[in-house]
């Protein structure tokens, strides 16, 4: 285990402990309580709370200052995953069947609703943060939720309408809203806001968060193309027709014949796309250098993240927390799951 992974694991442990306390608000039932606990139980990288807490500590705050908000963000993440799996028709999450595959759509959607609502409870009382910072934290979390749903709507809309005339800029806009905002931008902003009591500039941190989050998402796209087990469906993104960067590159680089075939493939409902066809798309990606293109793009964004990090943390006292945040970018684009 690398130092980054060890730190991530420790933040994840602290967050899960605090999350368990929040989840005790539910009556123990097999229809809701167990479902709500299912995805948190399976673990996960804990990237969001780690980024929030490390940024909070780096800016002079304490774990106690940031933990409630870190829990809120992690619970929202798990709620988004439940609904995301339903919307995408995914079958596996974190190495096990998705919640709706286990319990059916109605109960899974309801559990997602409950988890999203419970996530806001830690934000009700500002506590040690005080009213001024507490209000800004709530504003940040609400903005994060809205941006994420805007991004999700964009992706779902493109798939419904089979939009294929898309370039990297479209992809980055999607990723900035769907992934970056709640994966990296908001955790960085929230951590700095809490740790500095609202005195740290948030713009440079947001830029770092965008580059970091986009590099993270491209790595996720690439992992979905690998045959190795990484907790999700093999070639799941291709089966679901997700507009990933490798797919968009393939659409622009493929021959007219292949492009027409791809358009028809993506136009069909997911249950009418076979595994063989998904494997054919994957082979086309290799032929046209789409995987290499995406990998290079992730490297470029990671390099830009390094520069953005320097700007964002120029006035922050050097510490182990700052080092952890700096080391996240290279870790995220080389991670195996």
């Amino acid at each position: 285990m690398t130092a980054v992974e060890a730190t991530l694991a420790e933040y994840a442990r602290l967050t899960r402990q605090a999350m368990d306390v929040q989840l005790q608000a539910l009556e123990p039932t097999s229809y809701l309580d167990e479902l709500v606990r299912e995805y948190p139980r399976r673990g996960g990288k804990g990237l969001r709370p780690a980024l929030l807490l490390a940024t909070c500590l780096a800016h002079g705050g304490t774990l106690h200052d940031g933990l409630d908000v870190a829990v809120a963000v992690e619970m929202l993440h798990n709620a988004f995953l439940i609904h995301d799996d339903v919307q995408d028709g995914s079958r596996r999450r974190r190495g096990e069947p998705t919640l709706h595959a286990l319990h059916g759509l109605p109960l899974a959607v309801n559990a997602g609703d409950a988890l999203a609502t419970l996530a806001l409870r830690p934000l009700q009382a500002p506590g040690a943060l005080g009213a001024r910072v507490g209000r800004r934290v709530l504003d940040e979390v609400l903005a994060m939720i809205l941006k994420t749903t805007e991004g999700q709507a964009l992706e779902l809309g493109w798939r419904r309408d089979n939009v294929v005339d898309l370039g990297p800029a479209d992809y980055l806009e999607l990723v900035a809203k769907k992934t970056c905002w709640y994966t990296s931008v908001a955790p960085l902003r929230l951590g700095a806001l809490i740790g500095s009591r609202g005195t740290a500039p948030l713009g440079p941190l947001s830029r770092y968060g965008f580059y970091l989050g986009a590099a993270f998402q491209i790595r996720d796209d690439l992992l979905s193309l690998e045959a190795a087990e990484h907790g999700k469906d093999a070639l799941g993104d291709l089966r679901e027709g997700k507009r990933t960067l490798p797919l968009l590159h393939l659409l622009s680089a493929a021959s007219p014949g292949d492009r027409a075939w791809l358009g028809a493939y993506l136009a069909r409902p997911e249950n009418e796309r076979s595994q063989l066809e998904a494997e054919h798309v994957r082979a086309l990606m290799d032929r046209h250098g789409s995987v290499e293109f995406a990998s290079d793009y992730a490297q470029a964004l990671a390099a830009a993240a390094g520069d953005a990090f320097d700007a964002a943390f120029a006035n922050v006292t050097p510490s182990e927390h700052v080092e952890f945040i700096r080391d996240l970018a290279p870790y995220l684009i080389t991670r195996g799951r």
């Binding site: 800016h59 002079g60 943060l129 005080g130 009213a131 001024r132 910072v133 800004r136 903005a143 941006k147 990297p168 800029a169 980055l172 806009e173 900035a176 809203k177 970056c180 905002w181 740790g195 500095s196 009591r197 609202g198 005195t199 740290a200 500039p201 948030l202 713009g203 947001s206 830029r207 965008f210 580059y211 986009a214 290079d296 793009y297 490297q299 470029a300 964004l301 390099a303 830009a304 120029a314 006035n315 922050v316 006292t317």
Partner: protein, 179 residues
């Protein structure tokens, strides 16, 4: 850095700036490390005091709301008006929203002060009756009457109506003395 990589980063930067637009940074301008630490420490201190003040005010508000909803910061000030030499009067209602009797409520008007520094003594006020007993869930009325001195300069005066039984409650009073 290759041209392609530079173009990729620039394109990403443009997209990110567009998405970030509308989320202006309300924070203080950047400074050195020590300045940032100082700002954070100062902000923490200010927040601590603000929190203490807010908690104290919330305590007063809750007590006032429980015992007499008409006495509290959320209410508009009690308005009085009159000319020098005349009397300004208004009824006052107290509502006991609690389950306990509140007895011997004695109201008292503080001195009223104008921005110019002119003062009208609270002792010139009469309350009739001057003592109220409130049964649980009951209301009671008293009448405030203030004699405006002949020499009182025209203007707006401010003061408070206090209740002996409600030490944390204060009803703002606004008196307009006509020229």
């Amino acid at each position: 850095m290759s041209d392609l990589r530079r173009d990729q980063i620039a394109a990403a930067g443009e997209v990110f700036e567009r998405v970030l637009r509308g989320y202006a940074d309300p924070a203080a301008p950047a400074g050195g490390v020590k300045t940032a630490q100082l700002r954070t420490a100062a902000a923490r201190t200010v927040d601590l005091y603000a929190q203490l003040v807010q908690e104290a005010l919330e305590g007063v508000m809750h007590l006032a709301e429980d015992l007499a909803p008409s006495i509290g910061g959320g209410e508009p000030p009690l308005a009085l008006s009159g000319r020098p030499g005349a009397a300004a009067a208004t009824p006052i209602f107290l509502h006991n929203a609690t389950d306990a009797a509140v007895e011997r409520v004695v109201l008292r008007l503080t001195d009223l002060t104008a921005p110019s520094g002119a003062v009208i003594a609270g002792a010139l006020a009469d309350l009739e009756p001057d003592r109220l007993d409130l049964a649980p869930g009951a209301s009671a009325e008293t009448r405030l009457s203030l004699r405006i001195p002949h020499h009182a300069p025209a203007g707006i005066y401010h003061g408070h109506l206090l209740a002996h039984a409600l030490p944390d409650a204060a009803l703002a009073v606004r008196l307009e003395v006509a020229p």
